[in-house]
Subunit: 273 residues, 3 copies
């Protein structure tokens, strides 16, 4: 089922406006190009409305937010809402500082998001309104296991219903839900957490998939998460003895750029509830 | 003819001051080192005059401009002019927002540039004074073909005469002109547009070539464009079946770092009008 | 002796708060993950105290400092001092502009650093209180040779005693001293200077080693410098004919991620005085 979503990205090559962090921005741009989309990065308040207007969607990532970019995120988000452009939020580190938590909550209040993607600690922080995330990685105590999977799905569904957004929680097991239909995804490889930016790259990729598939949002998000996880598996399979994390990162983006709809269809590991 | 220009870069190792975007800045630094130059990045208004003073040339790239860096670009540009240092402009996304168009036009008015390099949409925007660029890539409608090549050359020559700068328009076909002598260059590979930053990297490289070759400016710009395009061809030739865009990017910078004057001389594909 | 220090990084996986430049920030994050640590980047003044509180140590790098981040560095540094967290300074380009020199000196005055790592020109600038660095690389005139080694060691020891910090001067020969015990390290490869960011990556890595080894600071700094140099040697040994500087950069981070305590122990080349 998920091959159509990738096919649409490749056919439409959606242009995505990114207001994102300076740590992984180059990776996000390269992944958008690799998956078939097209990136533009712009964060000055004087131009974000215009830039978002010429794009198909807006990707907001708070990874290295500051006083200037926070204002730009809000202005761009409102403009994208006016134009009915999809908006995707990556609440990097929500729960790790009041500034991050409050910025994410304030954006949720003032902007209608299409998709919110984070790790379990970040999403719990936003769903509960407060949190205690340790850094930009999920807390071990929060990890999704087969024991707590049902509880996490209930939380994700409620948060989807409350926000009107597709919620994507990624980790060893990934959950995607629009409040009704839920995908449980098991692609990926542990080595993806040994390089920076796999979360940010995924959110950028989700943006392209969502813009290219307006009538199948939850499937589009699930397809992009399967695509990223499958690319991680392919990357791992290419590693030779002397290769390490930097080779893995290159093979990951290589795999994204080479992924075909049929390979995605065959390699995607998910169930629908 | 172009081998001397590369030889001079390798002999003189020019130090380049870059005020550039945070998307491709790491690539620009690595490409400057790879081609034989040396980079320094500095954009705070308190230090840009001093930094530009210790460098051989200034590379201004408006890829992620903001209120602070716009001021720094102007201050650094005036200082570099006072010192008669070459200044190179990359008007990324001119035409995509009023802020970008106006910043580029204002810089052109107040700073004497040595070289201006952009895609056809960006250069048309600056030559006409307004534009409708779709993002950071050239509009398909603007593409240089054998049909409109003569018209584009006339436009570029006029713009060179008006600005007193060497104009470089890059795409499938590249045009370099100082208003009198014109190079038409056909090196390169389409895969270069599937990674972010090839334009920014090229402009950084042009900066090193121009600083190292003050008495042959138009040849220096042409040589660096041939060097980048030829490196793209070499990178493509190294791709194996599982390699994708990230491997291509690595092979591109590898090729730049391994390029010798004689390989450049042999591989350069250009005509002079 | 140095294997315990790496083992501790791998066991404790220290979380490091980085206020750093946008040129090499992605490399720093990937190197922290590769060596066994965990990175978070945050530079807005509203959140740096909170972020530094949840981390084990603070890495301050002035590579692209600006008016906003300078204030954040000071606030974060004071907080880290209150919490007795290790703080590491990389005075990139001190001596190249008054802003860099004064910022570094002002930080030294107001914050107690645990380690200061720079090239010889940067450290001389801070030790003398003024300097004339040419860019972000060490001046050739300052290079450490067997002739001036003893004088450099005396300077480094005095600066260590004055600041109470471990001083690390890196170049062809590396010197690490706490004012009493001095390591002279000869790992590394000249190709490391042909890519951007090896200094910044090293300082990030030192941060992880120091946080993981509070009772053997000078050994921790020496171990991380040996680890980086040895990784450079391993990277160089992997280069094939067509590989260039970008492949070298990937092999370097690969080697860091694959380095084991016993390989470090065997490959480390140092003497203690």
């Amino acid at each position: 089922m998920l091959k159509e979503q990738l096919l649409n990205v490749q056919k439409k090559s959606p242009l995505i406006h990114n207001i994102t962090n300076y740590v992984t921005v180059n990776d996000c741009a390269n992944v958008l190009l690799a998956c078939g989309g097209s990136p533009i990065m712009a964060d000055d308040i004087e131009e974000v409305e215009e830039i978002t207007s010429i794009c198909g969607g807006l990707n907001i990532n708070i990874g290295t937010l500051n006083q200037n970019t926070i204002k730009s995120m809000l202005v761009a988000g409102k403009k994208a809402n006016q134009l009915s452009h999809p908006i995707i939020l990556d609440p990097v580190g929500a729960g790790a500082s009041a500034l991050r938590t409050e910025t994410a909550l304030s954006l949720l209040e003032k902007v209608q998001f299409t998709v919110i993607r984070g790790n379990i600690s970040e999403i719990k922080t936003l769903a509960l309104g407060f949190g205690m995330t340790k850094g930009v990685d999920a807390d071990a105590a929060d990890a999704i296991t087969s024991d707590n999977l049902d509880d996490v799905i209930i939380m994700a569904k409620k948060f989807a219903q409350k926000t009107g957004a597709v919620i994507a929680i990624t980790g060893t097991i990934d959950i995607v839900t629009d409040g009704k239909k839920t995908f449980i995804i098991k692609n990926g490889h542990p080595m993806m957490s040994k390089i920076t930016g796999t979360g940010c790259m995924l959110t950028a990729m989700i943006s392209a998939y969502v813009v290219a598939n307006p009538s199948s949002l939850v499937e589009a998000v699930a397809a992009s998460i399967c695509a990223m996880g499958l690319s991680g598996e392919i990357a791992f399979s290419r590693l030779s003895e002397k290769d390490g994390t930097a080779s893995f990162r290159m093979y990951l983006i290589d795999a994204i750029s080479n992924l075909t709809p049929s390979v995605l269809e065959k390699g995607a590991k998910y169930e629908i509830r």
